[in-house]
Symmetry: D2
Subunit: 346 residues, 4 copies
């Protein structure tokens, strides 16, 4: 059994990781840390785990943590995974970071968007962007896996075939995303207060959201040229799910049917990307509780634009599930080990 | 007192009209019709109106209806307001149609998007598009007011200043709209079934929604040139509200602050359009239960695009409230007569 | 115009009071206080009031507040209305307290359930329990109106005819109540965090909720004997509304029809209590946004129990609307002044 | 592999059974029938199963169905499982019926509450009530398992220790239950229409719900005397979950702590009943997505009543999960085979 530690086990991504790994046949939950709840059992904080997970939450002690684990997951606000990364590197262990600290290759861009000094910039070069569908070979041998953000996962998977094949003008790209409230975490705020959020819909971070440079970095690599986008996230009155609606001008004539075929080809063999048949559209409920990303494309001949729609469960494919998928890549296991469940509906 | 009739009083838009007009100081609810519930009282169908509205629902008899009323409201599926329009015209009464039958000036476009023959095309020329902020003078003397669709109201009010001032390239316009489920009406379907819709978010009518030509007609008039758009509606797990996020390339440099000022100027004196101060963004809950349209603009200097966000209550400013506003215009009353209430929050 | 002050204007009950009074024809919003938001405008905190209410929020200065107002409303956590009550008494003004400080006649019971010393016990005797349907004569001349709690309003109105007529054995009374989340206020907590509360239902305060002695006090007065109850509140994933399901053994044979008639008689002439016809059951959505309490009774001949169900909007009839109704009683206005609106549906 | 057939695979209980059995290591989905969708694939109707379940839905042909399967599950409206039961009996196969046809031992009571003739009364005697915690030995050898109703599951598990130990006066029992909307099924109705149900709470079937005699039958067996109850179900604006709040007079003094211990003892070794520690209360979200029933007891010394609260996922422990548990009992497998997952939170 592989000994795993989860730093930040009582945030939503961390708790989801605990739930998934508690049923993973090769992983053993060895250390769970929590700043707020150290000393309590996991199930006192998350009653769905009563009788399922017995671990007591611990305060974070980085050296001790790393020494007790083979693989560490960090599910922390940005800035806090850097020291863990350094220790993991020192001891030859592995890190899967669900936060933003190792995603951006350009430390200046990180510092400019996150308003935080990067104190482990030397590690950035050895980190791999943890989107297995694009980078599984690199992930296998990496010390640090930078698990992608939730919005970027939905956007990059949705656009990769178009950019790879140069089917769109990247200059015209617009990404309009809608997220469930769990994406805002378990921290308390008026934005996540039931009575403020229920029956409410709003945009936030217009033209300033921190996932913008992450999306741009990956789209630029796919396009082979710098891509600058408009990305607008919206807060949606539901718990789980991200749906991204993406628009771009096509560079040549292609039908919805042809493009759907191209997507199926691009993602052939991928267990967790489902290109939907023409006539079916993604909906967040169809992926909630699963590690799948559903994608559909529509060509509008009136405007010569393509509209791509993708949907994921932000806590699974957008966070904890993808992290487990990365763990499986690292361990050389089938990628769906511990992830082979259908979503829950309705 | 003005005698009003409401045809289709037991749909959501019709019932909202009943509620609003029951408190209108100059209107008397004279005839309420319902295909499904004729013979029942209004409050048996809508228990919130118990003790508030005593009318018994009637089957529709067009000539009798028109003879008993001064102003008729139709809240019907498309195709069904045409005969009412003809009778109103014949008898010199007034019609405010909340449906789509008289919105499109070009009958061919109507027939092509609605797949329905237009049997009252001669009336179309004498109908006025009932957006008071743009057409109040024409509305005052019109026989038929074509009350705008819910999505078009949010889009046209949001974009009018930009197109009037030629600040954007209309070719680049994208309208991504999100609507509460009440917009789909009271008719039963899986799309509006609680367990399917709750905690779910999805697009529909991608590149094919019937509000597209209505939006294009009005934007073209504002721009003074043909405008073709991408419009994508989404079903949002909330009851009331539409939020539209709109994108276009700017034709010249302008800041968010300058553009906000321009919007305030454009809508000066408008009781029901609230241009929000810089730093505040529309949210559907801030307009729910009111006749207001909230608007904010953001300029993204990285992409030289403007992002306009507008929000309305789809059943009020997007339907029944706007219809009452049109009634007030027709009667020469202050436009907020019977509409002078704040939204309900939370 | 009567000058009114609202202390605690940025809680949900306070903000609802601001909204209602902003449209009251005889009241002028003179002072709005807020501990957290003093210095901001009301609409910066509650965007639905943008363009509706211009007041700037003030820090609380009790003597100054009372001197500037004719009537003061307090919407504060328990314990905080006592000093305001003393100042109001001193200056001969009027107080309507939406909190718990003056509801319980027995100060020992207050201190025991609220774990707080009562520092204004001398005022308790001159306070009137502000349920106009039972106490309107006393309210008219009172200095302090103790506006009832939300749960007690639904319970007492639902049970008053049964106890008055001695139709039930009070010993067997069980009150099972379900409240929307707005009843927990605008303060942040995990219990009111969107992702924890949505799609969740739970009891709280089992056998210990502080509204228990308030309900018992009023039921005992109605019954003419001490009444001890089981009261269980539940948190329901909706914003507004309380529904109480109440059970008791009947003391004599009576049919549902007869009992419904008796209720109609008991509440004859009451504008805000709607006894529903046999076959119709209360639902929170039918009263949301209105000041109504809907009630239905069902006799179960198998068990000889009566089941009473009542529903209110917790923020209106359960708080701010009832406070305005009390204001109207005090001022000798028709009780529905400023409250003559139908609920919002759907 | 055991060949299983699911009759009524496109209702919510049926679809949940498909999802669960698709991951069951010993079951093979051999026949899925659907009246409305025969000829379509399962995933066209339920998109979460795209790539997970490949079966095509079939029209029901009872003899053929039974001949192709080892075990048949029926998830049908009452009255429709009887012919399947007869055929299963004839051919020596096994039936697990998720409907009501074989739950009531007394056919007259069935006919009186369900207003339907029972055409297979001879089978009733050989059917076993499928609550494994009470009847696992009988289930193992039964031809027909009558899978309990959702409300009865929550009520019976919650009350079994009290009645077994004669700790309460059964005469005083009141069961106040709250269910998510998925319990009303996938059939369309205004009661399950999103805009009517969201933000709404209401009782239904007051004193007349068909689960009443089922609960009474089982409680009477436990009590060793006839038990007549008041049972009130409520429709709650959430998808999954039932929470029952139950009240009864205690027959002797006992503390919350002692009673909790007694419950733990009673349910010792039960994988799917979680008696919560004192201080923790059930909530539907803690069991959603799992096969668990959470229970807590509170003794109120003021009234000498016990309040028992239990929570289940109505589609899992209240339907499909319990059916799989029964399958495991029949097959002699560990009861959590295919059910060994934690609930999904948040």
């Amino acid at each position: 059994m592989i000994k795993v530690g989860i730093v930040g086990a009582t945030g939503y991504a961390g708790a989801e990781l605990v739930r998934l790994l508690s049923r993973h046949p090769k992983a053993e939950l060895t250390v769970l840390t929590s700043q707020s709840y150290a000393g309590k059992t996991m199930w006192e904080v998350f009653p769905h785990l009563y009788g399922v997970v017995d671990n007591t939450l611990e305060a974070l002690n980085v050296p001790e943590l790393v020494s007790r684990c083979d693989v560490v997951f960090t599910a922390l606000p940005h800035g806090h995974a850097m020291p863990v990364g350094q220790e993991v590197m020192r001891r030859g262990k592995r890190l899967i970071d669900l936060g933003a600290d190792f995603r951006l290759k350009d430390v200046d861009i990180y510092q400019s968007w996150y308003k935080t000094e990067h104190t482990a910039s030397v590690l950035v070069a050895s980190a791999v962007y943890g989107l297995p569908e694009l980078y599984r070979l690199e992930i296998k041998d990496s010390v640090i896996v930078a698990n992608p953000g939730c919005y970027p996962t939905s956007a990059i998977l949705g656009l990769a075939p178009l950019l790879t094949d140069k089917l769109i003008d990247p200059e015209t790209l617009i990404i309009d995303s809608k997220s469930g409230v769990s994406g805002a975490g378990r921290g308390l705020s008026l934005k996540t207060h039931f009575s403020e959020t229920t029956n409410n819909f709003q945009a936030y971070g217009v033209a300033t959201h921190r996932h913008t440079p992450e999306i741009e970095q990956e789209l630029s690599l796919l396009a082979g040229m710098p891509v600058t986008i408009n990305f607008t996230p919206h807060l949606t009155p539901m718990i789980r799910g991200i749906l991204s609606t993406m628009y771009a001008k096509l560079t040549r004539n292609i039908t919805t049917e042809e493009l759907t075929e191209r997507y199926k080809e691009f993602y052939q063999g991928e267990r967790f990307v489902r290109v939907l048949p023409v006539g079916m559209l993604p909906q967040t409920k169809a992926v909630a509780g699963s590690n799948c990303c559903d994608i559909a494309v529509s060509v509008d001949p009136r405007t010569k634009r393509v509209i791509v729609i993708s949907a994921i469960d932000n806590l699974i494919k957008g966070a904890a599930g993808q992290a487990v998928q990365n763990l499986n890549v690292i361990l050389g296991l089938p990628e769906d080990t511990g992830l082979d469940f259908a979503g829950m509906y309705p």
